[in-house]
Amino acid sequence: MSNATAATEPLHTPLAWQAVELVEKLPATARAATLVLRAPAWPGHRAGQHVDIRLTAEDGYQAERSYSIASTPEDAALSLTVERLPDGEVSPYLVDELRPGDLIELRGPIGGWFTWSSEEGGPLLLVAGGSGLVPLMAMLRHRAATDSRAPARVLVSASAIDDVLYREELDALAAADDAVEAHIALTRRQPPGWTGFARRVDAPMLAEVGFAPDARPRVFVCGPTGFVESASSALVGLGHDPSLIKTERFGPTGA
């Protein structure tokens, strides 16, 4: 009776909100935590996608924010890495208050443009400002989980070394695979003996770290709006095809 089934399906099918449980909260940096979630109705996702999270206060006031998915589709659990914003409405609750066993409302996965699948191939140039690394890390994890041989280079900008998310994992990914390079730019403070970049991301840095435009890398840039606009203009200035540059902005200090 497939016709009858089809006839009863709603014409308009919005993405449903679902209650998901926090399984584990892992510290990421002093200001960020990775939330490992149990989402029974999770349909799977693509690296680069995000979720919306909705909090409802006792008086009915609702606040809704988007957070990038950190886990690769191949991971058993869904995880997000959330950075606490000092005057945020949602992130301080998620980073500081939420406890294992607590439920939050989530819908997703969301977004289909800022995504990468290993089937699309590379090379892959990933440029992150601060917590803009989260969706790019999902791409790197997906690349590793699928044994992709696509050359990948990641450039992360942060104010100080302790603000760099997933630092040990980035080092390990680069050490384990000749096709992966991880570069870090520290804009404000550098530890003694620092050999990485010690300035904001600029065109010479992108030329040094990135692939030649002729190699036609797929470029993903994610970070605060100013960071994304400056990095993407520099990449276009270097001769990268604008149609291969995908950007995701999360506002002045984060979403």
Binding site: W113, T225, R249, A255
Partner: protein, 82 residues
């Protein structure tokens, strides 16, 4: 207010169109520029979202969350290819 981009509007766009829309090609009704909806400039702190053309800054689409449902205004869009 600093804008973000159409990626941040993916959830509410999906409520309106019942489809993934960030990769959809859009043509601005003001200046004729073409881009993916993900590339539009998005203002999202209102109870809804305003998307503006990344080339001319003209308003493309306004989605306002009402007590029941959504109000959608898209006078600034010449075409969307889903």
């Amino acid at each position: 207010m600093v804008h973000v981009d159409g990626n941040a509007a993916a959830g509410i766009l999906r409520e309106v169109f019942a489809a993934e829309m960030t990769a959809a090609a859009c043509v601005c009704g003001h200046c004729g520029a073409g881009f993916a909806l993900a590339e539009t400039h998005a203002y999202v702190r209102a109870p809804g979202v305003v998307l503006r053309c990344p080339d001319c800054s003209g308003v493309l689409l306004r989605i306002l969350r009402l007590r029941e449902g959504l109000s959608v205004e898209m006078r600034g869009v010449a075409r969307i290819e889903i």
